[in-house]
Subunit: 137 residues, 2 copies
Amino acid sequence: MSERTEIAVQIGPISPAAPDALYQQIVNGFKREIGEGRLTGDTPLPSFRLLAGQLLVSIITVRRAYEELEREGIIYRRQGLGTFVATDGRERSRAAKRRHAQALIRSAIREAKEAGLSAAEAKAFVNRVATETLSEE
Amino acid sequence: MSERTEIAVQIGPISPAAPDALYQQIVNGFKREIGEGRLTGDTPLPSFRLLAGQLLVSIITVRRAYEELEREGIIYRRQGLGTFVATDGRERSRAAKRRHAQALIRSAIREAKEAGLSAAEAKAFVNRVATETLSEE
DNA sequence: CAACTGTATATGTTATATATACACACCAGA
DNA sequence: TCTGGTGTGTATATATAACATATACAGTTG
């Protein structure tokens, strides 16, 4: 078992005003941190109480986020011990992100066509926005 | 004022199981119909009761959808008369769809980068999915 | 047994959806 | 002409479900 170290988790900012639910924002934050390799296999996640205190959120909300992450095989929980990044958590997290990105692009294509664009125009639109978005950073 | 004709509105299918709320699905359906030109300026929309009956949904849900569409300037309501497509409804609907599509693409780019892809890889991913999606139809 | 960990139950809050009753516009018929 | 019927949209009070919470319970370790 990995030794427990103090982890400066950078999940936030969490906001009740955001379009996503609080627990979903926490889920997305961990998928990002794990997907980008800042949290690796068997690393302990912060406890319910610690993270709840840091994010100014209830224990139940953290619990729900961890449940969702465990359901996707990205982390695992052990009662009395803690919560840890799964061995293949990074790969699963990345796969989930890619699937999500793919679904978003398909929705964007559909929206573009419903805006009256032809297939060729829709593709050009997607390319243009993608290029602009990537050049802004 | 336009004469009232029976309109075979093709908004559905509406499902409570869908990720979007019922009223939002109705909003999206009318934006599509108006954006693609099947409903033009000053055309009367179905009444609350008629549409509610067709979609197996309550009057309030239809009302909420129409409120949202009026807020965006796509339709207008007249008490005692009915609800009608705004003169510039098509243009506004298309603009809304384009804005939505743009937001979706930006989210997709962000997700792709959080999946560990570089900027170039993310752009290639977007292009590939867009091409695949458009060739499937 | 003390101090951590995750777990479970009952409760409050908010967005969504509903049923019912109300107000306005038109128009056919007295 | 005017009056009532039937269509329209409008308003209020009420369920339902997802989300978030507080509090108490159970397992692990030293």
